[in-house]
């Protein structure tokens, strides 16, 4: 051995890094070094803060009618009341409502804050379900091949053949309108995307040299699927999932807008826009505020997803 070791030292391509490489730390560092990911994380941080600190940030209850809270017409408790901010010159006799009141005399600002919780939960739950089912189906299709592949993928094709929202509406109509059913519907609609991503990954990764090499060293199919293929397929799944959260939130919001998702009196950005659609010219803030909130969140997830796509490529690690 003594004879080969010094030679080997010379043939090293790269100097040893000071700290041993760590995939997750490298990924995090790559992620934090990117503009789009930084912006995405800031936007999502805002939403997360809203959700976590909602009771502190909100000035009123989520569902409290201002008449019940002791306000009167005289203090400005009217339907679709305009924003009243004392600092900006709103009369001191009126009570302060940063984003005004909605048609049920509830504080719009507080509702926007509380609704962030719904949207976050909707995003993660919906995409979580879709990813889990989609990944399993895609793995089966890609790894088993043959009739199993055909069966799974033809069902996915059928799901994909319908416009997503139309299909979701149909599913909710069958299940009955409620937030949870809206999420299930959107999750079902999302499954084919993840199944396809996973199947494609399995098909390409199973042909890679390292899979043959691990087989030659005695790995079982189970080992191959779980320890070789899945970890390598994770990158596109995570990226797709992050981007998918944005879409899922929009879809559930759309269902809520149509009255098929979140049910009154709970606050949800989608249904808030839906409720205010008739007064969009009279009280545009009632549409703009939850609309902006959705935009921030969707943009945040999209930017983060783009950043993740680049950061998770191990070849980019330095």
């Amino acid at each position: 051995m003594a004879s080969t070791a010094p030679l080997a030292e010379q043939s090293l391509d790269q100097p040893l890094v000071a700290r041993p490489a760590n995939l997750w730390r490298d990924t995090l560092r790559n992620l934090l070094g990117q503009r789009s990911a930084q912006a995405g994380l800031v936007l999502l941080g805002v939403v997360l803060l809203m959700a976590v600190a909602a009771p502190i940030l909100a000035t009123h209850g989520e569902t409290t009618n201002m008449l019940d809270a002791g306000e009167t017409r005289a203090t400005g408790a009217v339907r679709n009341a305009a924003p009243c901010i004392h600092l900006l010159g709103c009369a001191a006799s009126k009570s302060q409502h940063i984003l005004g009141l909605d048609s049920n005399l509830r504080d719009e600002y507080s509702r926007v804050i509380y609704a962030s919780r719904v949207s976050l939960e909707v995003g993660f739950f919906t995409v979580g379900i879709a990813i889990i089912i989609g990944t399993v189906l895609g793995a089966i299709a890609g790894y088993a091949g043959g009739w199993a592949d055909n069966l799974v993928m033809r069902v996915m094709d059928v799901l994909l053949a319908f416009p997503a929202l139309v299909l979701a509406i149909a599913i909710v109509t069958v299940l009955g309108p409620s937030l949870i059913n809206a999420q299930i519907a959107v999750a079902i609609v999302g499954i084919p995307v993840y199944a396809r991503v996973m199947r494609a990954s399995v098909l390409s990764i199973r042909e890679r040299d390292f899979v043959t090499a691990s087989r030659a060293l005695g790995a079982s199919s189970y080992d191959i699927l779980l320890r070789r293929i899945l970890p390598n397929a994770l990158t596109p799944l995570i990226v797709q999932g992050t981007l998918g959260i944005a879409g899922a939130i929009l879809d559930v919001a759309a269902l809520s807008f149509l009255g098929l998702g979140s049910q009154p009196p709970a606050a949800d950005w989608g249904s808030m826009i839906g409720d205010a659609r008739n007064v969009v010219f009279v009280a545009p803030w009632l549409v703009l505020a939850p609309g902006a909130a959705i935009a921030i969140m969707v943009l945040g997830f999209n930017l983060l997803g783009d950043g993740l796509r680049d950061a998770l490529d191990p070849r980019l690690n330095r």
């Binding site: 051995m1 004879s3 080969t4 070791a5 030679l7 080997a8 030292e9 043939s11 090293l12 391509d13 790269q14 040893l16 890094v17 041993p20 490489a21 760590n22 995939l23 890679r208 040299d209 390292f210 043959t212 090499a213 691990s214 087989r215 030659a216 060293l217 005695g218 790995a219 079982s220 080992d223 320890r227 070789r228 970890p231 390598n232 994770l234 191990p314 070849r315 690690n317």
Partner: protein, 357 residues
Amino acid sequence: MSISELREPRRRVGTTGERLLDVRGLRTSFTTRDGVVRAVDGIDFHVNRGEILGLVGESGCGKSVTSLSILRLIAPPGRIEAGELIFDGRDLLKLDSRQMRELRGNRISMIFQQPTSSLNPVFSVGRQLEEVLELHRNMKRRAARDRAAELMRMVGIPDPVRRLDAFPHALSGGMAQRVMIAMALACEPELLIADEPTTALDVTTQEQIIDLLQEMQAEFNLSIILITHDLGVVARVANSILVMYAGRPAEFGEADDIFYRCSHPYTRGLLDSVDYGAYRPGEHLHPIAGVPPRLDQLPPGCAFHPRCLYAEPICRDSVPEFGRVPSGHTVAACHPALAGRLNLHRAGAHASGAREL
């Protein structure tokens, strides 16, 4: 010829003569759109314990398919049609898939041409070494890690403990191949199949890897099937040699017999077309004219006959048996050689001894 310089007498390791692997009549085919391709058609050879078998032949002659067949890693549409693979007294083709899995990486290992892509990109090399040990040796994580570092040191990786945490993309080709060798040898297998282990590496690194393989062979009394295009390497390390042509065996024998007393025109052609890294003015290389045939369009009779300078009418009509030549030196598939009408022992005989058909 510089073969003599390369073939210094070597220390024989292990119980010489004890058969470790006996391949008989192996036939592997692939079903393609254009029909069935016999990638390997009736290969016979054996590997003794502690010895290196060199497997040579032009690109596409079925070397990789042969080695993957031994491990039963031929995936559909490929199929092992016939043959026996007697490894340590048992026919591998009769084992069930679980038994076969236990054998792979444990008693028979394999390394490949592209070392970097043979490693899983998302795990550290240490983790991958540990996995092999956990798989076959039921080692616990800690013990496996210590052993992994030891293995890395054994294959000549500097600073092995820190290297355990390196990811494959951070390794040079030579380092990655060393890691692959460490993984392949982790469970001290009896047979290592090395499919062109140095083709993707630069010349200096090639030498080091071959040296390493030879060291490991001596240390573990390991048998190696070394697939390579490099006859110089074969001349240096192999105990026996199998020459393949178009999915069939051309000649098999002790390395010295192949190099000094070969009987098959194709072997002669191969030997005369290589400069063994020591070309001298006045010596001439004689490349074999023509290209190997496509496997789905094999010429009738001896598949080599369109390129063979010794071809006789019978060569076009019937496929030669793979049998012992009268001189007794090697086993060859060639009509005139089997009839004792051919003497190719002289270097350059393939070109200078040309006869008209």
